[in-house]
């Protein structure tokens, strides 16, 4: 990991006016159900997927399209360090926003006189922390593939493809296609539902393994791609 890259990425993400506007809008909108129904607990906030995408979008692709990547790679930084640092920065940034959301929701609950379910808060934070980590890994892969904010487009295409594959599979009764579509959708939004662990249910091993395999695969491919990326005005690969 490279601490300078992590800090610079965090600053870059949170000084982007467009990003700030989107984050504030999403946070405020998520407070509305809490204000209307303060006794419903933290799960009413929903998950942080959209927040994670907002922070992660263009995490590598924008460095490529802006041309700043050359100067970074002229320094003693391995490309793997660069990818890991970007992933860590986006994850940390999302965690901070989730924590802020949680704190705001807690304040609303207190002000409205509703009890604050601390266990629910911990579960909410833990579930979304894992979702943020997983989403950042997926976006690291897509962002390493395309410049600028093309990773969002790629994500949308991937979801669309999974729907098409699933549809064709169910139409033709092709189990493999249906299963592939389901796995693809699960991989595009990697998460672990921790509720079962807190209610005496057995550990959902397939969910846990699927999550970590998706994260590892995305990061591994992102690093392999960056290791082979050529940086030059003359190269058509940039």
């Amino acid at each position: 990991m490279s601490l300078p890259i992590i800090l610079a990425t965090l600053r870059q993400r949170f000084t982007s006016p467009m990003r700030i506007v989107i984050l504030i809008t999403v946070i405020w909108m998520s407070m509305i159900p809490v204000i209307l129904s303060p006794g419903s607990g933290f799960s009413i906030l929903g998950d942080c997927y959209f927040l994670a995408l907002t922070i992660a979008a263009g995490m590598i692709g924008q460095d490529v399209s802006s041309g700043t990547l050359q100067l970074v790679f002229a320094r003693p930084v391995t490309r793997a360090q660069y990818v890991f640092s970007k992933w860590a920065a986006v994850t940390l940034g999302t965690w901070c926003v989730i924590a802020l959301e949680c704190v705001l929701a807690g304040i609303v609950m207190l002000v409205r006189g509703a009890p604050v379910p601390w266990g629910g808060a911990a579960l909410y934070l833990a579930n979304n922390a894992l979702l943020a980590l997983g989403t950042a890994a997926v976006m690291a892969l897509f962002s390493a593939l395309v410049p600028g904010l093309g990773d969002l487009g790629l994500l949308f295409l991937a979801f669309l493809s999974s729907q098409v594959i699933g549809g064709i599979g169910s139409f033709r009764n092709w189990r493999l296609a249906m299963r592939a579509a389901e796995e693809l959708q699960r991989s595009l939004k990697p998460e672990i539902e921790l509720w079962s662990l807190t209610h005496g249910h057995p550990i959902p091993w397939s969910m846990v393994v699927a999550y970590f395999s998706t994260v590892a695969l995305c990061l591994a491919i992102a690093i392999l791609l960056m290791n082979r990326k050529e940086l030059s005005y003359a190269s058509s690969g940039v």
Binding site: P33, S40, G41, S43, I44, L45, G46, D47, Y49, F50, F73, P76, V77, T78, R79, A80, F156, F159, L160, Q163, G166, G167, G169, S170, F171, R175, M178, R179, A181, E182, E183, Q185, K189, E193, W195, S196, H199, H201, P202, P204, W205, S206, M207, V209, A210, F212, S213, A216, L217, L219, A220, I223, L224, N227, R228
Partner: protein, 196 residues
């Protein structure tokens, strides 16, 4: 770290790292391969445990319960929400609900018209453990009691969870309410939200 020297004959500073900046991450790749193999193995095991034809709790059950895979696929193709019936053979309210709703031809036909029905039978008491797909679904929808009906669309919208059985009319009304609220909420099917 000691400051860089300006003397041209100076050897490079101590603790300077060596190795290619494009080194492939061998450990990560190994971990990835192992996890992928495990994922495939667990998937195969899950598939073997999942019955092709789901069991019905009673012969008089008029609902054609789908298997999980075909049910989800059908829901995606037709756009109908899934109606999960989390039940157990030892559960008395479950048997009552089956007699009053699922064994009723008209109610069963109506449900099949509007939903894709999937029965999730808990066998933890009888067999000591459930198939992993049952555990996964129970974990996903936080099922802690029976009967629990869950109205959901695959990867879209927040599911509606109906715990317990409070009578035929009440249950059918709640199921219909759930279906309507899902139609309103599922405007962005690609971005699932599992808040309650």
């Amino acid at each position: 770290m000691p400051p860089r020297a300006s003397d041209p004959g100076e050897v490079r500073p101590p603790r300077a790292r060596t190795g290619s900046t494009r080194r492939d991450p061998a450990i990560l790749l190994a971990v990835t391969i192992v996890l992928l193999a495990l994922r495939v193995a667990l998937h195969v095991q899950e598939n073997r445990a999942q019955p092709a034809v789901p069991p019905s709790a009673a012969v008089s059950d008029k609902v054609q319960w789908r298997s999980l895979e075909s049910g989800v696929a059908e829901a995606r193709t037709t756009g109908k929400p899934i109606l999960y019936d989390f039940t157990a053979d030892w559960c008395a309210p479950c048997r009552l609900m089956q007699r009053e709703i699922f064994a009723d031809a008209a109610a069963a036909a109506d449900l099949e018209r509007r939903f894709v029905p999937i029965r999730v039978l808990d066998r933890a008491r009888e067999d000591g453990r459930n198939p992993s797909w049952v555990d996964s679904l129970q974990a996903r929808y936080r099922v802690g009691a029976f009967p629990t009906l869950v109205v959901a669309q695959p990867y879209a919208g927040a599911p509606v969870i109906i715990e317990g059985y409070l009578g035929r009319d009440y249950t059918l009304d709640r199921i219909e309410d759930a279906r309507r609220s899902l139609r309103v909420r599922t405007m962005m099917p690609a971005l699932p939200d599992r808040g309650r």
